[in-house]
Amino acid sequence: MTPVLVIGYGNELLGDDAAGRSTVEAFAQENRADVQILSVPQLTPELAESVAHSRRVIFVDTSADPAQQSVQLRPIQPATRSGGIGHVSRPGELLALAIALYGRCPSAWMMTLPGNQFALGKPLSQLAQRGVADALLRIRQLCGRGIHAQPTSPRAT
């Protein structure tokens, strides 16, 4: 059982869409033995197994909401979507899949970073870079909080 699983996802070629992956790849440099880190272009169903075998999971992605200017963190619950899941899964669907297939689901958080530059070949914007720095702090806090803590109080900034 992995104490904490951190999954960053997004397309590395599309500017700020890569902010989630940049965050978790930076965090991977810290070589935490109690944390498994995955950096993937998109969420896919087989990730449900890693999710199910974790005590806590943190999904890290860029927000598509142009009004979001800072890192947002909220607890998430299993959720199914009409029409099912496809090539692209959502975090809540992976949690639901973990329950359906493996009979268990970790506590889970969704961390979204701000972004405003999603064009092909663009680097991370300054807004996203600030988000990466803040997200790293938040992830360290979450990982240091004790593996059995429940995501009861969403912390918006």
């Binding site: 996802y9 997004g10 397309n11 590395e12 070629l13 599309l14 869409d17 993937v40 272009p41 998109q42 896919t44 169903p45 087989e46 449900a48 197994e49 992605d61 860029t62 927000s63 598509a64 909401d65 199914t80 979507r81 009409s82 029409g83 099912g84 899941i85 496809g86 090539h87 692209v88 959502r90 639901a96 899949l97 359906a100 297939l101 969704m110 979204t112 972004g115 999603f118 092909l120 070949g121």
Partner: protein, 474 residues
């Protein structure tokens, strides 16, 4: 009043897209278009980059079929280097492509499409998903997931990572299979084989009650394109191009991949970013052709493996000459999974897979190179032009989903004609139109995957542009 029905975007396919269904003044469907917002600008983005970077850049186009781009890119680079890669490297590339086809087809069949025909076309959208499938057919659903994991694991064993393995390089590959890796693959094969055979049995049974879908889900004459080899065996990595027609007759054969432009034209349509390739000798749009599992099975003489060949015989009973119903893409996909597993079983003990001789070294010896391989969804072309320093001057990519663009339009139109009557847009019709597109398993990757972007919007627009109705389904 003539009107258009917009379905935007299609759920359970990669990326974003919308469908426009045109009706005449009497409410009869006259035409349909599948509009795609794909990852545009990639070709320009690559200009000026060193050739050596291409096999690591191009797989990042897509998180679903990165191996396909990796291999087609490496092959285009091989052509520019003018090298023949070591035999071990070719076998290892083949192994990775087989794994890619398995994992991609497993996702398509078990997760995306099986809910439609196992739970029921007219079931509420809220229950027509993989979760209900898990409740109803837990062994099948779990088996499907494990089959996809099996394919992903082979890719990881070879490339060091599941996604975007920077493993195939110009001239060969970076590393061979290890003995523990080989043993791991062997240990997983029996279960994977059981899953594939069970799914095939299930689908054969389903076909008995899906005569309507067989008839209206994109059943029309077209050409088919795929890689072929001199032995007539199913081909997925190398060989030459072959076009066959709906009667199963070979129209053009033994076309070297580098000559693809002589046979494939690319039409650009104003309402879609997806190019529409066509068979040049017949012109546009008469030169409509299909690629992917259905096409590959129409192009080959045999699968070359015993169990898959048994299935191929059954499959061919659904056509006269070629099999033309797009609904049978699903069947073809399962047959290909079985063939891939048999081929892996056949090759897994070859010493070459453990060989250290993996790469041919060379410099820039040609200024133009074309690579093609069979991606899960069909033939994929990478065409590079470089200067003497090996910097990319121009690239052209022809992706499988683009080559099926015209066929997807025709499929949607055929389904809509059958199910839409009058002015209402019934949910079961939406289900079927989406399912018709999903039969091709299009990968429109490539748009941003930022949080919170998927929804289904249905819009009715009059001929004068007036929006008559809008429905959003999340």
């Amino acid at each position: 009043m003539a009107r258009r029905i917009l379905i935007d975007p299609v759920t359970r396919i990669e990326g974003h897209a919308k469908i426009t269904i045109h009706q005449d003044e009497s409410g009869n469907v006259t035409d349909a278009r599948f509009h795609v917002v794909e990852f545009r600008g990639f070709e320009t983005f690559c200009e000026g980059r060193p050739l050596w970077e291409m096999p690591s850049i191009t797989p990042r186009i897509c998180g679903i079929c990165p191996v396909s781009h990796l291999l087609a890119s490496a092959k285009a680079c091989d052509a520019i280097l003018s090298v023949r890669i070591p035999a071990a490297a070719e076998q290892l590339r083949r192994l990775m492509n087989l794994a890619q086809i398995i994992q991609s087809h497993a996702l398509s069949f078990f997760h995306l499409s099986a809910p439609d025909f196992l739970i029921g076309w007219d079931a509420p959208a809220a229950t027509r998903n993989v979760f209900t499938l898990i409740q109803k057919q837990p062994d099948l659903a779990r088996g499907g997931i494990r089959l996809r994991q099996f394919g992903q694991e082979i890719i990881e064993l070879l490339g060091g990572r599941k996604i975007h393995p920077a493993w195939a390089v110009p001239g060969g590959v970076r590393q061979s299979l290890t003995e523990p890796g080989r043993d791991r693959i062997k240990s997983c094969l029996p279960e994977a084989m059981d899953t594939a055979r069970a799914a095939l049995q299930l689908f054969r049974d389903l076909l008995q009650s899906h005569e309507r879908e067989l008839q209206v889900f994109g059943r029309f004459p077209s050409l088919f394109l795929g890689l072929a080899n001199e032995a007539g065996l199913w081909e997925h990595y190398d060989g030459f191009l072959r076009f066959v027609d709906a009667g199963g007759n070979v129209l053009a054969d033994e076309i070297e991949v580098r000559r693809y432009r002589e046979f494939i034209g690319e039409a650009v349509q104003t309402d879609s970013y997806l190019k529409s390739p066509y068979y040049k000798p017949l012109g546009f749009p008469q030169g409509i052709y299909r690629v992917g599992p259905l096409a590959r099975l129409n192009v080959c003489r045999t699968m070359g493996t015993p169990l898959a060949d048994e299935e191929l015989d059954r499959f061919r009973s659904y056509g006269q000459g070629a099999v033309t119903s797009s609904f049978l893409y699903h069947y073809a996909r399962l047959i290909e999974i079985l063939a891939c597993l048999e081929l892996i079983q056949d090759m897994i003990d070859r010493p070459a897979l453990l060989s250290p001789h993996l790469r041919a070294d060379a410099g820039i010896n040609q200024l133009h190179g074309v690579g093609a391989s069979e991606a899960p969804r069909g033939t994929l072309f990478h065409d590079y032009q470089v200067n003497e320093l090996g910097l990319i001057q121009k690239i052209n990519l022809i992706i499988a989903t683009g080559q099926n663009n015209l066929a997807m339009n025709r499929t949607v139109a055929q389904i809509a004609k059958h199910y839409i009557q009058g002015n209402s847009i019934p949910e079961p019709m939406l289900n079927r139109v989406e399912a018709g597109i999903r039969a091709f398993d299009p990968c429109l990757s490539c748009s941003t995957h930022a949080d919170g972007t998927l929804a289904l919007h249905v819009t009715l627009v009059a001929a004068d542009g007036t929006v008559l109705d809008t429905v959003t389904r999340d």
